[in-house]
Protein backbone atom coordinates (compact mmCIF):
# COMPACT_ATOMS: atom_id res chain seq x y z
CA UNK A 1 0.00 0.00 0.00
CA UNK A 2 3.01 2.30 0.47
CA UNK A 3 3.44 2.74 -3.29
CA UNK A 4 0.00 4.36 -3.58
CA UNK A 5 -0.40 8.10 -3.87
CA UNK A 6 -2.68 9.88 -1.44
CA UNK A 7 -5.40 10.10 -4.09
CA UNK A 8 -5.16 6.32 -4.65
CA UNK A 9 -5.19 5.63 -0.89
CA UNK A 10 -8.40 7.64 -0.56
CA UNK A 11 -10.08 5.42 -3.19
CA UNK A 12 -8.75 2.20 -1.66
CA UNK A 13 -9.98 3.14 1.82
CA UNK A 14 -13.44 3.73 0.40
CA UNK A 15 -13.31 0.45 -1.55
CA UNK A 16 -12.45 -1.21 1.80
CA UNK A 17 -9.27 -2.77 0.42
CA UNK A 18 -7.81 -2.04 3.85
CA UNK A 19 -8.77 0.00 6.89
CA UNK A 20 -7.18 3.25 8.08
CA UNK A 21 -5.84 1.33 11.09
CA UNK A 22 -4.19 -1.27 8.82
CA UNK A 23 -2.72 1.48 6.66
CA UNK A 24 -1.45 3.42 9.69
CA UNK A 25 0.13 0.31 11.26
CA UNK A 26 1.82 -0.54 7.98
CA UNK A 27 3.26 2.98 7.64
CA UNK A 28 4.38 3.08 11.28
CA UNK A 29 6.34 -0.13 10.57
CA UNK A 30 7.97 1.65 7.63
CA UNK A 31 8.78 4.67 9.80
CA UNK A 32 10.48 2.42 12.38
CA UNK A 33 12.38 0.39 9.79
CA UNK A 34 13.64 3.48 7.93
CA UNK A 35 14.56 5.57 10.98
CA UNK A 36 18.05 4.11 11.67
CA UNK A 37 18.94 4.63 8.00
CA UNK A 38 17.29 7.98 7.17
CA UNK A 39 16.78 9.77 10.51
CA UNK A 40 13.77 11.45 8.87
CA UNK A 41 11.73 11.77 12.09
CA UNK A 42 12.34 13.60 15.36
CA UNK A 43 9.18 12.29 17.04
CA UNK A 44 6.91 9.39 16.07
CA UNK A 45 3.36 9.73 17.37
CA UNK A 46 2.29 6.07 17.04
CA UNK A 47 -0.26 6.06 19.84
CA UNK A 48 -2.17 9.17 18.77
CA UNK A 49 -1.92 8.07 15.11
CA UNK A 50 -3.73 4.83 15.94
CA UNK A 51 -6.34 6.75 17.93
CA UNK A 52 -6.91 9.10 14.95
CA UNK A 53 -7.05 6.05 12.67
CA UNK A 54 -9.79 4.46 14.78
CA UNK A 55 -11.84 7.66 14.61
CA UNK A 56 -11.33 7.79 10.83
CA UNK A 57 -12.36 4.15 10.42
CA UNK A 58 -15.56 4.88 12.35
CA UNK A 59 -16.27 7.93 10.17
CA UNK A 60 -15.74 5.89 7.00
CA UNK A 61 -18.03 3.11 8.28
CA UNK A 62 -20.71 5.65 9.17
CA UNK A 63 -20.47 7.29 5.74
CA UNK A 64 -19.35 10.55 7.36
CA UNK A 65 -15.91 10.72 5.79
CA UNK A 66 -14.52 13.78 4.04
CA UNK A 67 -12.03 13.70 1.16
CA UNK A 68 -9.02 13.53 3.54
CA UNK A 69 -10.45 11.26 6.22
CA UNK A 70 -7.97 8.59 7.26
CA UNK A 71 -5.13 9.76 5.03
CA UNK A 72 -1.80 9.68 6.89
CA UNK A 73 0.77 12.46 6.88
CA UNK A 74 3.82 13.73 8.73
CA UNK A 75 4.32 17.28 9.97
CA UNK A 76 7.61 19.14 9.75
CA UNK A 77 8.73 19.74 13.33
CA UNK A 78 8.34 23.49 12.81
CA UNK A 79 4.53 23.22 13.14
CA UNK A 80 3.27 23.33 16.72
CA UNK A 81 1.37 20.20 17.73
CA UNK A 82 -0.57 20.25 20.99
CA UNK A 83 0.85 17.93 23.64
CA UNK A 84 3.67 16.81 21.35
CA UNK A 85 7.31 17.93 21.39
CA UNK A 86 7.88 20.67 18.80
CA UNK A 87 11.65 21.15 18.53
CA UNK A 88 12.22 23.00 15.24
CA UNK A 89 15.36 20.84 14.98
CA UNK A 90 16.98 22.78 17.83
CA UNK A 91 18.44 22.00 21.23
CA UNK A 92 16.76 25.24 22.27
CA UNK A 93 13.33 23.59 21.97
CA UNK A 94 14.32 20.01 22.78
CA UNK A 95 12.20 20.23 25.94
CA UNK A 96 9.28 22.18 24.39
CA UNK A 97 5.87 20.53 24.37
CA UNK A 98 3.53 22.77 22.42
CA UNK A 99 0.43 23.87 24.35
CA UNK A 100 -1.47 24.51 21.10
CA UNK A 101 -1.87 23.40 17.48
CA UNK A 102 -0.72 25.42 14.48
CA UNK A 103 -3.64 26.39 12.21
CA UNK A 104 -2.30 24.01 9.55
CA UNK A 105 -2.26 21.14 12.05
CA UNK A 106 -5.69 22.06 13.40
CA UNK A 107 -7.22 22.14 9.91
CA UNK A 108 -5.70 18.84 8.80
CA UNK A 109 -6.72 17.18 12.07
CA UNK A 110 -10.24 18.48 11.58
CA UNK A 111 -10.19 17.03 8.05
CA UNK A 112 -9.56 13.60 9.59
CA UNK A 113 -5.93 13.11 8.59
CA UNK A 114 -3.70 10.83 10.67
CA UNK A 115 -0.42 12.29 11.98
CA UNK A 116 2.41 9.73 11.92
CA UNK A 117 4.96 12.03 13.53
CA UNK A 118 7.18 15.08 13.26
CA UNK A 119 9.92 15.23 10.65
CA UNK A 120 13.55 16.24 11.06
CA UNK A 121 14.73 19.56 9.65
CA UNK A 122 17.60 22.02 9.64
CA UNK A 123 17.67 23.93 12.93
CA UNK A 124 15.00 26.67 12.81
CA UNK A 125 14.76 25.91 9.06
CA UNK A 126 18.19 27.45 8.46
CA UNK A 127 20.06 25.21 6.08
CA UNK A 128 19.98 23.53 2.67
CA UNK A 129 21.24 20.07 3.61
CA UNK A 130 19.58 19.07 6.89
CA UNK A 131 23.00 18.94 8.50
CA UNK A 132 22.28 21.73 11.00
CA UNK A 133 19.65 19.72 12.92
CA UNK A 134 20.39 19.12 16.63
CA UNK A 135 19.05 15.60 15.97
CA UNK A 136 21.64 14.75 13.33
CA UNK A 137 21.50 14.85 9.54
CA UNK A 138 18.76 13.24 7.45
CA UNK A 139 20.04 10.90 4.72
CA UNK A 140 18.90 10.92 1.10
CA UNK A 141 16.92 7.70 0.39
CA UNK A 142 18.45 7.52 -3.11
CA UNK A 143 21.95 7.29 -1.62
CA UNK A 144 22.43 7.45 2.13
CA UNK A 145 25.86 9.07 1.80
CA UNK A 146 24.17 12.16 0.37
CA UNK A 147 22.12 15.00 1.85
CA UNK A 148 18.35 15.16 1.21
CA UNK A 149 18.48 18.94 0.86
CA UNK A 150 16.91 21.28 3.40
CA UNK A 151 15.52 22.62 5.42
CA UNK A 152 12.51 20.28 4.98
CA UNK A 153 14.86 17.30 4.49
CA UNK A 154 12.97 14.97 6.83
CA UNK A 155 9.67 15.60 5.03
CA UNK A 156 11.30 15.09 1.60
CA UNK A 157 13.15 11.90 2.62
CA UNK A 158 10.03 10.47 4.30
CA UNK A 159 7.91 10.98 1.17
CA UNK A 160 10.67 9.78 -1.20
CA UNK A 161 11.07 6.56 0.81
CA UNK A 162 7.25 6.22 0.95
CA UNK A 163 7.40 6.21 4.73
CA UNK A 164 4.77 8.96 4.76
CA UNK A 165 2.47 9.45 1.75
CA UNK A 166 2.66 13.25 2.15
CA UNK A 167 4.22 15.74 4.58
CA UNK A 168 3.90 19.38 5.50
CA UNK A 169 6.95 21.58 4.99
CA UNK A 170 7.95 25.25 4.98
CA UNK A 171 9.90 27.37 2.54
CA UNK A 172 11.75 30.60 3.37
CA UNK A 173 14.38 30.48 0.61
CA UNK A 174 13.78 27.10 -1.05
CA UNK A 175 13.26 24.78 1.92
CA UNK A 176 10.38 22.91 0.24
CA UNK A 177 11.52 22.96 -3.38
CA UNK A 178 15.24 22.18 -3.04
CA UNK A 179 14.79 19.04 -0.86
CA UNK A 180 11.87 17.97 -3.09
CA UNK A 181 14.22 18.22 -6.09
CA UNK A 182 17.10 16.40 -4.39
CA UNK A 183 14.81 13.58 -3.19
CA UNK A 184 12.76 13.18 -6.40
CA UNK A 185 9.40 14.25 -5.01
CA UNK A 186 6.88 17.05 -5.59
CA UNK A 187 7.00 20.24 -3.51
CA UNK A 188 4.78 23.30 -3.45
CA UNK A 189 5.47 26.64 -1.78
CA UNK A 190 2.22 28.61 -1.99
CA UNK A 191 1.88 32.38 -2.29
CA UNK A 192 2.94 34.36 0.78
CA UNK A 193 -0.24 34.75 2.83
CA UNK A 194 -2.06 31.74 1.34
CA UNK A 195 -1.39 29.30 4.21
CA UNK A 196 -1.59 30.47 7.82
CA UNK A 197 1.70 30.92 9.63
CA UNK A 198 0.01 30.73 13.04
CA UNK A 199 1.86 28.13 15.10
CA UNK A 200 4.55 27.78 12.45
CA UNK A 201 7.76 28.72 14.26
CA UNK A 202 8.99 31.96 12.69
CA UNK A 203 12.33 32.29 10.90
CA UNK A 204 11.94 35.24 8.49
CA UNK A 205 8.38 36.50 8.68
CA UNK A 206 8.22 38.28 5.30
CA UNK A 207 9.45 35.13 3.50
CA UNK A 208 8.19 32.07 5.44
CA UNK A 209 5.36 30.09 3.88
CA UNK A 210 3.92 26.68 4.72
CA UNK A 211 3.33 24.10 2.01
CA UNK A 212 3.66 20.45 1.14
CA UNK A 213 5.99 17.74 -0.05
CA UNK A 214 4.02 15.04 -1.86
CA UNK A 215 4.23 12.23 -4.38
CA UNK A 216 2.28 14.14 -7.00
CA UNK A 217 0.67 17.47 -7.85
CA UNK A 218 -2.73 15.79 -7.55
CA UNK A 219 -1.95 14.85 -3.92
CA UNK A 220 -0.67 18.34 -3.18
CA UNK A 221 -3.92 19.81 -4.57
CA UNK A 222 -6.01 17.59 -2.28
CA UNK A 223 -4.27 18.66 0.93
CA UNK A 224 -3.53 22.28 -0.03
CA UNK A 225 -7.28 22.71 -0.45
CA UNK A 226 -7.80 22.01 3.25
CA UNK A 227 -4.67 23.82 4.46
CA UNK A 228 -5.20 27.13 2.66
CA UNK A 229 -7.38 30.06 3.43
CA UNK A 230 -7.85 33.03 5.68
CA UNK A 231 -6.87 32.82 9.34
CA UNK A 232 -7.57 35.82 11.60
CA UNK A 233 -4.79 34.61 13.93
CA UNK A 234 -2.11 35.34 11.28
CA UNK A 235 -1.96 39.08 10.56
CA UNK A 236 -0.42 38.42 7.12
CA UNK A 237 -3.00 35.83 6.10
CA UNK A 238 -4.80 37.03 2.97
CA UNK A 239 -8.59 36.96 2.82
CA UNK A 240 -8.92 35.72 -0.76
CA UNK A 241 -11.16 32.75 -1.62
CA UNK A 242 -9.42 29.42 -2.19
CA UNK A 243 -10.33 28.10 -5.65
CA UNK A 244 -11.29 24.45 -6.11
CA UNK A 245 -7.93 23.03 -7.18
CA UNK A 246 -9.37 19.67 -8.31
CA UNK A 247 -11.68 21.44 -10.77
CA UNK A 248 -8.86 22.85 -12.91
CA UNK A 249 -6.29 20.09 -12.35
CA UNK A 250 -6.99 18.53 -15.75
CA UNK A 251 -7.40 21.70 -17.79
CA UNK A 252 -5.64 21.47 -21.18
CA UNK A 253 -2.31 23.27 -21.56
CA UNK A 254 -2.78 24.33 -25.19
CA UNK A 255 -1.73 27.97 -25.56
CA UNK A 256 0.09 28.05 -22.21
CA UNK A 257 2.96 30.53 -22.34
CA UNK A 258 6.02 29.33 -20.46
CA UNK A 259 8.84 31.76 -19.73
CA UNK A 260 12.30 30.29 -19.40
CA UNK A 261 14.32 32.34 -16.95
CA UNK A 262 17.43 33.19 -18.94
CA UNK A 263 19.50 33.99 -15.85
CA UNK A 264 18.92 30.45 -14.52
CA UNK A 265 20.56 28.88 -17.55
CA UNK A 266 23.44 31.33 -17.80
CA UNK A 267 25.85 30.31 -15.07
CA UNK A 268 26.51 27.61 -12.52
CA UNK A 269 24.02 25.07 -13.84
CA UNK A 270 25.31 21.50 -14.21
CA UNK A 271 25.18 20.61 -17.92
CA UNK A 272 23.52 17.21 -17.39
CA UNK A 273 20.89 18.84 -15.16
CA UNK A 274 20.30 21.43 -17.89
CA UNK A 275 19.78 18.66 -20.47
CA UNK A 276 17.23 17.05 -18.19
CA UNK A 277 15.34 20.33 -17.75
CA UNK A 278 15.34 20.97 -21.53
CA UNK A 279 13.84 17.49 -22.11
CA UNK A 280 11.07 18.26 -19.62
CA UNK A 281 10.36 21.49 -21.50
CA UNK A 282 9.92 19.47 -24.71
CA UNK A 283 7.13 17.51 -23.00
CA UNK A 284 5.36 20.81 -22.39
CA UNK A 285 5.81 21.79 -26.02
CA UNK A 286 4.17 18.52 -27.04
CA UNK A 287 1.26 19.39 -24.74
CA UNK A 288 0.74 22.60 -26.71
CA UNK A 289 2.64 25.08 -24.57
CA UNK A 290 4.76 27.82 -26.09
CA UNK A 291 8.25 28.51 -24.75
CA UNK A 292 9.72 31.98 -24.67
CA UNK A 293 12.88 33.26 -23.04
CA UNK A 294 12.39 35.94 -20.39
CA UNK A 295 14.93 38.10 -18.62
CA UNK A 296 14.80 38.88 -14.92
CA UNK A 297 17.95 41.00 -14.69
CA UNK A 298 17.85 41.67 -10.93
CA UNK A 299 17.35 37.99 -10.08
CA UNK A 300 21.09 37.14 -9.84
CA UNK A 301 21.12 39.47 -6.81
CA UNK A 302 18.61 37.34 -4.92
CA UNK A 303 21.20 35.47 -2.82
CA UNK A 304 22.89 38.61 -1.43
CA UNK A 305 19.47 40.25 -0.94
CA UNK A 306 18.22 37.23 0.95
CA UNK A 307 21.29 37.09 3.19
CA UNK A 308 20.47 40.56 4.46
CA UNK A 309 16.67 40.27 4.73
CA UNK A 310 16.42 36.73 6.16
CA UNK A 311 19.10 37.10 8.89
CA UNK A 312 17.70 40.53 9.84
CA UNK A 313 14.23 39.07 10.38
CA UNK A 314 15.69 35.96 12.04
CA UNK A 315 17.72 37.96 14.57
CA UNK A 316 14.55 39.77 15.57
CA UNK A 317 12.29 36.66 15.63
CA UNK A 318 14.74 34.53 17.59
CA UNK A 319 15.14 37.21 20.27
CA UNK A 320 12.15 35.54 21.96
CA UNK A 321 14.33 32.62 23.03
CA UNK A 322 15.60 34.07 26.28
CA UNK A 323 15.72 31.09 28.64
CA UNK A 324 12.91 32.57 30.73
CA UNK A 325 9.51 31.46 29.49
CA UNK A 326 10.30 28.29 27.54
CA UNK A 327 13.19 26.56 25.86
CA UNK A 328 16.71 25.83 27.02
CA UNK A 329 18.09 27.52 30.14
CA UNK A 330 21.77 27.30 31.10
CA UNK A 331 22.76 25.84 34.45
CA UNK A 332 23.33 28.22 37.40
CA UNK A 333 23.21 31.64 35.69
CA UNK A 334 25.09 34.23 37.72
CA UNK A 335 22.93 37.14 36.55
CA UNK A 336 20.28 37.94 33.96
CA UNK A 337 22.78 38.79 31.20
CA UNK A 338 24.61 35.52 31.82
CA UNK A 339 21.28 33.68 31.67
CA UNK A 340 20.42 35.22 28.28
CA UNK A 341 23.85 34.76 26.75
CA UNK A 342 24.61 31.23 27.86
CA UNK A 343 21.07 29.90 27.34
CA UNK A 344 21.20 31.21 23.76
CA UNK A 345 24.86 30.30 23.21
CA UNK A 346 24.19 26.70 24.28
CA UNK A 347 20.67 26.35 22.86
CA UNK A 348 21.44 27.52 19.30
CA UNK A 349 23.69 25.69 16.86
CA UNK A 350 26.47 27.21 14.74
CA UNK A 351 24.41 28.15 11.67
CA UNK A 352 21.59 29.72 13.67
CA UNK A 353 24.12 31.79 15.63
CA UNK A 354 25.76 32.82 12.34
CA UNK A 355 22.43 34.09 10.99
CA UNK A 356 21.45 35.85 14.22
CA UNK A 357 24.82 37.62 14.23
CA UNK A 358 24.59 38.52 10.53
CA UNK A 359 21.15 39.98 11.15
CA UNK A 360 22.29 41.85 14.24
CA UNK A 361 25.17 43.33 12.23
CA UNK A 362 23.11 44.50 9.24
CA UNK A 363 20.51 46.08 11.52
CA UNK A 364 23.00 47.76 13.84
CA UNK A 365 23.36 51.53 14.05
CA UNK A 366 25.31 52.94 11.13
CA UNK A 367 24.77 49.90 8.89
CA UNK A 368 20.98 49.83 8.58
CA UNK A 369 20.77 52.01 5.46
CA UNK A 370 23.78 50.48 3.72
CA UNK A 371 22.61 46.91 4.16
CA UNK A 372 18.99 46.51 5.20
CA UNK A 373 17.39 49.39 3.33
CA UNK A 374 19.55 48.69 0.28
CA UNK A 375 18.49 45.02 0.29
CA UNK A 376 14.83 46.04 0.55
CA UNK A 377 15.25 48.23 -2.54
CA UNK A 378 16.90 45.40 -4.50
CA UNK A 379 14.10 43.14 -3.31
CA UNK A 380 11.70 45.58 -4.97
CA UNK A 381 13.68 45.33 -8.25
CA UNK A 382 13.44 41.51 -8.11
CA UNK A 383 9.73 41.80 -7.37
CA UNK A 384 9.25 44.10 -10.39
CA UNK A 385 11.13 41.59 -12.57
CA UNK A 386 8.63 38.88 -11.62
CA UNK A 387 5.69 41.22 -12.14
CA UNK A 388 6.93 42.20 -15.60
CA UNK A 389 7.55 38.55 -16.52
CA UNK A 390 4.01 37.53 -15.50
CA UNK A 391 2.70 40.26 -17.75
CA UNK A 392 4.22 38.34 -20.67
CA UNK A 393 3.90 34.66 -19.69
CA UNK A 394 1.62 32.41 -17.61
CA UNK A 395 4.31 30.52 -15.70
CA UNK A 396 8.08 30.62 -15.37
CA UNK A 397 10.23 27.50 -15.54
CA UNK A 398 13.81 26.57 -14.82
CA UNK A 399 15.87 24.25 -12.65
CA UNK A 400 15.14 24.02 -8.91
CA UNK A 401 18.77 23.45 -7.89
CA UNK A 402 22.07 23.87 -9.75
CA UNK A 403 23.04 20.22 -9.26
CA UNK A 404 21.86 16.88 -7.85
CA UNK A 405 22.29 15.89 -4.18
CA UNK A 406 25.80 16.33 -2.73
CA UNK A 407 27.72 14.37 -0.08
CA UNK A 408 27.06 14.84 3.61
CA UNK A 409 29.83 17.13 4.87
CA UNK A 410 30.81 18.43 1.41
CA UNK A 411 29.60 22.00 1.97
CA UNK A 412 29.16 22.06 5.74
CA UNK A 413 32.28 24.12 6.42
CA UNK A 414 31.65 26.79 3.78
CA UNK A 415 28.42 28.72 4.40
CA UNK A 416 28.63 30.65 1.11
CA UNK A 417 28.81 27.44 -0.96
CA UNK A 418 25.80 26.17 0.99
CA UNK A 419 23.87 29.42 0.43
CA UNK A 420 24.43 29.24 -3.33
CA UNK A 421 22.39 26.04 -3.42
CA UNK A 422 19.28 28.18 -3.18
CA UNK A 423 20.29 30.46 -6.04
CA UNK A 424 17.21 29.49 -8.12
CA UNK A 425 14.64 29.27 -5.33
CA UNK A 426 15.11 32.45 -3.27
CA UNK A 427 13.58 34.81 -5.87
CA UNK A 428 10.08 33.37 -5.40
CA UNK A 429 10.26 34.00 -1.64
CA UNK A 430 11.47 37.58 -2.09
CA UNK A 431 8.59 38.29 -4.48
CA UNK A 432 6.13 36.15 -2.49
CA UNK A 433 4.99 34.21 -5.57
CA UNK A 434 4.03 30.51 -5.53
CA UNK A 435 6.46 27.93 -6.88
CA UNK A 436 6.73 24.16 -7.24
CA UNK A 437 9.40 21.58 -7.88
CA UNK A 438 8.51 18.36 -9.70
CA UNK A 439 10.75 15.38 -10.51
CA UNK A 440 11.80 15.45 -14.19
CA UNK A 441 14.50 12.80 -14.57
CA UNK A 442 17.80 11.52 -13.24
CA UNK A 443 21.43 12.58 -13.55
CA UNK A 444 24.10 10.15 -12.28
CA UNK A 445 21.20 8.06 -10.84
CA UNK A 446 19.97 10.99 -8.74
CA UNK A 447 16.72 12.92 -9.15
CA UNK A 448 16.45 16.34 -10.81
CA UNK A 449 13.71 18.88 -10.11
CA UNK A 450 11.94 21.21 -12.55
CA UNK A 451 10.85 24.47 -10.97
CA UNK A 452 7.54 26.04 -11.96
CA UNK A 453 6.68 29.48 -10.71
CA UNK A 454 3.43 31.44 -11.06
CA UNK A 455 1.93 34.83 -10.25
CA UNK A 456 0.49 35.63 -6.79
CA UNK A 457 -2.36 33.23 -5.91
CA UNK A 458 -1.71 31.20 -9.08
CA UNK A 459 -1.59 27.85 -7.22
CA UNK A 460 -4.44 26.34 -9.27
CA UNK A 461 -2.56 26.96 -12.51
CA UNK A 462 0.73 25.66 -11.08
CA UNK A 463 -0.89 22.44 -9.90
CA UNK A 464 -2.59 22.06 -13.30
CA UNK A 465 0.70 22.57 -15.16
CA UNK A 466 2.55 20.12 -12.87
CA UNK A 467 -0.23 17.51 -13.08
CA UNK A 468 -0.26 17.67 -16.89
CA UNK A 469 3.46 16.73 -16.90
CA UNK A 470 2.91 13.94 -14.37
CA UNK A 471 0.21 12.41 -16.60
CA UNK A 472 2.77 12.19 -19.42
CA UNK A 473 5.76 10.96 -17.37
CA UNK A 474 6.44 8.59 -14.49
CA UNK A 475 9.45 10.23 -12.81
CA UNK A 476 7.26 11.01 -9.81
CA UNK A 477 6.39 7.31 -9.41
CA UNK A 478 10.02 6.19 -9.11
CA UNK A 479 10.93 4.87 -5.66
CA UNK A 480 14.48 4.28 -4.35
CA UNK A 481 15.21 0.52 -4.63
CA UNK A 482 15.90 0.13 -0.91
CA UNK A 483 12.36 1.36 -0.13
CA UNK A 484 10.30 -0.25 -2.88
CA UNK A 485 9.35 -3.35 -0.89
CA UNK A 486 6.63 -3.74 1.71
CA UNK A 487 7.91 -3.86 5.32
CA UNK A 488 6.45 -7.02 6.94
Amino acid sequence: MHTSTLAELAKKLRAKEFSVTELTKSLLRRVTAAQPKLNAFITVTAESALAQAAVADAALAAGKAGPLTGLPLAHKDIFCTRGVKTSCGSRMLDNFVSPYDATVVERLNAAGMVTLGKTNMDEFAMGSSNETSWYGPVKNPWDERLVPGGSSGGSAAAVAARVAPIATATDTGGSIRQPAALCGVTGIKPTYGRVSRYGMIAFASSLDQGGLISQSAEDAALVLQAMSGFDPRDSTSVDTPVPNYAETLNAPLAGLKIGLIKEFFDTGLDSAVEKCIREALRVYEKLGAKLVEVKLPALPLSVPTYYVVAPAECSSNLARFDGVRYGHRCAEPKDLMDLYKRSRGEGFGAEVKRRIMTGTYVLSAGYYDAYYLKAQRVRQLINQDFKRAFGEVDVLMGPTAPDVAFSIGAKASDPIQMYLNDIYTIGANLAGVPAMSIPCGFVRDLPVGLQICGPHFGEARLLNVAHAYQKETDWHRRIPAAYSKEVP
Binding site: L301, A319, M357
Partner: protein, 96 residues
Protein backbone atom coordinates in the same frame (compact mmCIF):
# COMPACT_ATOMS: atom_id res chain seq x y z
CA UNK B 1 35.81 43.43 4.14
CA UNK B 2 37.10 41.72 7.22
CA UNK B 3 35.54 41.86 10.68
CA UNK B 4 37.89 41.87 13.67
CA UNK B 5 37.59 40.07 17.01
CA UNK B 6 36.20 43.12 18.77
CA UNK B 7 33.47 43.52 16.19
CA UNK B 8 32.48 39.86 16.54
CA UNK B 9 32.41 40.19 20.34
CA UNK B 10 30.32 43.34 20.09
CA UNK B 11 27.82 41.73 17.66
CA UNK B 12 27.60 38.66 19.93
CA UNK B 13 26.91 40.92 22.90
CA UNK B 14 24.16 42.81 21.03
CA UNK B 15 22.66 39.44 20.02
CA UNK B 16 22.97 38.13 23.60
CA UNK B 17 25.04 35.13 22.55
CA UNK B 18 27.95 33.70 24.51
CA UNK B 19 30.74 32.54 22.22
CA UNK B 20 33.63 30.25 23.08
CA UNK B 21 37.19 31.34 22.24
CA UNK B 22 37.22 28.76 19.44
CA UNK B 23 34.04 30.15 17.87
CA UNK B 24 35.33 33.71 17.48
CA UNK B 25 37.75 33.13 14.54
CA UNK B 26 35.14 30.89 12.85
CA UNK B 27 32.54 33.67 12.89
CA UNK B 28 35.16 36.26 11.99
CA UNK B 29 35.87 34.28 8.83
CA UNK B 30 32.29 33.42 7.84
CA UNK B 31 30.69 36.78 8.70
CA UNK B 32 33.42 38.54 6.69
CA UNK B 33 32.58 36.31 3.72
CA UNK B 34 28.85 37.02 4.11
CA UNK B 35 29.50 40.78 4.27
CA UNK B 36 31.50 40.43 1.04
CA UNK B 37 28.65 38.48 -0.55
CA UNK B 38 26.04 41.10 0.34
CA UNK B 39 28.47 43.76 -0.86
CA UNK B 40 27.33 42.77 -4.39
CA UNK B 41 24.22 44.83 -3.70
CA UNK B 42 26.23 48.07 -3.75
CA UNK B 43 26.41 48.02 -7.53
CA UNK B 44 22.64 47.73 -8.04
CA UNK B 45 21.00 50.98 -9.21
CA UNK B 46 18.28 51.67 -6.64
CA UNK B 47 17.83 55.44 -6.72
CA UNK B 48 14.14 56.19 -6.33
CA UNK B 49 13.22 52.55 -5.73
CA UNK B 50 10.71 52.06 -2.94
CA UNK B 51 12.04 49.63 -0.28
CA UNK B 52 9.97 46.44 -0.12
CA UNK B 53 9.31 45.14 3.39
CA UNK B 54 6.93 42.32 2.55
CA UNK B 55 5.45 40.71 -0.57
CA UNK B 56 1.90 42.01 -0.26
CA UNK B 57 2.05 45.68 -1.19
CA UNK B 58 -1.06 47.69 -0.54
CA UNK B 59 -2.21 45.31 2.14
CA UNK B 60 -2.72 47.21 5.37
CA UNK B 61 -2.20 45.40 8.63
CA UNK B 62 -5.55 44.23 9.90
CA UNK B 63 -6.85 45.63 13.17
CA UNK B 64 -9.11 43.74 15.54
CA UNK B 65 -11.34 44.93 18.38
CA UNK B 66 -9.44 45.28 21.64
CA UNK B 67 -11.30 42.56 23.50
CA UNK B 68 -10.15 39.49 25.39
CA UNK B 69 -10.43 36.41 23.20
CA UNK B 70 -8.12 34.01 25.06
CA UNK B 71 -8.97 32.21 28.23
CA UNK B 72 -6.44 32.07 31.08
CA UNK B 73 -4.19 29.06 30.48
CA UNK B 74 -1.07 30.19 32.33
CA UNK B 75 -0.65 26.84 34.08
CA UNK B 76 -0.53 25.04 30.75
CA UNK B 77 1.85 27.58 29.23
CA UNK B 78 4.13 27.67 32.25
CA UNK B 79 4.69 23.91 32.07
CA UNK B 80 7.37 24.77 29.49
CA UNK B 81 9.07 27.32 31.71
CA UNK B 82 12.45 26.50 33.27
CA UNK B 83 11.54 27.99 36.67
CA UNK B 84 8.15 29.16 37.96
CA UNK B 85 6.91 30.06 41.42
CA UNK B 86 3.45 31.31 42.36
CA UNK B 87 2.65 31.63 38.63
CA UNK B 88 5.66 33.92 38.14
CA UNK B 89 8.65 33.27 35.90
CA UNK B 90 11.83 33.24 37.97
CA UNK B 91 15.11 34.82 36.84
CA UNK B 92 18.33 35.63 38.73
CA UNK B 93 18.15 38.66 41.00
CA UNK B 94 17.90 41.85 38.91
CA UNK B 95 17.75 44.58 41.57
CA UNK B 96 20.33 44.57 44.37
Amino acid sequence: MSLNRDQINSIAHLARLSLTEAEIPVYQDSLSKIVDLVGQLDAAPTTGVEPMAHPLPGLAQRMRPDVVTEKDQHELYQRNAPQVEAALYLVPKVIE
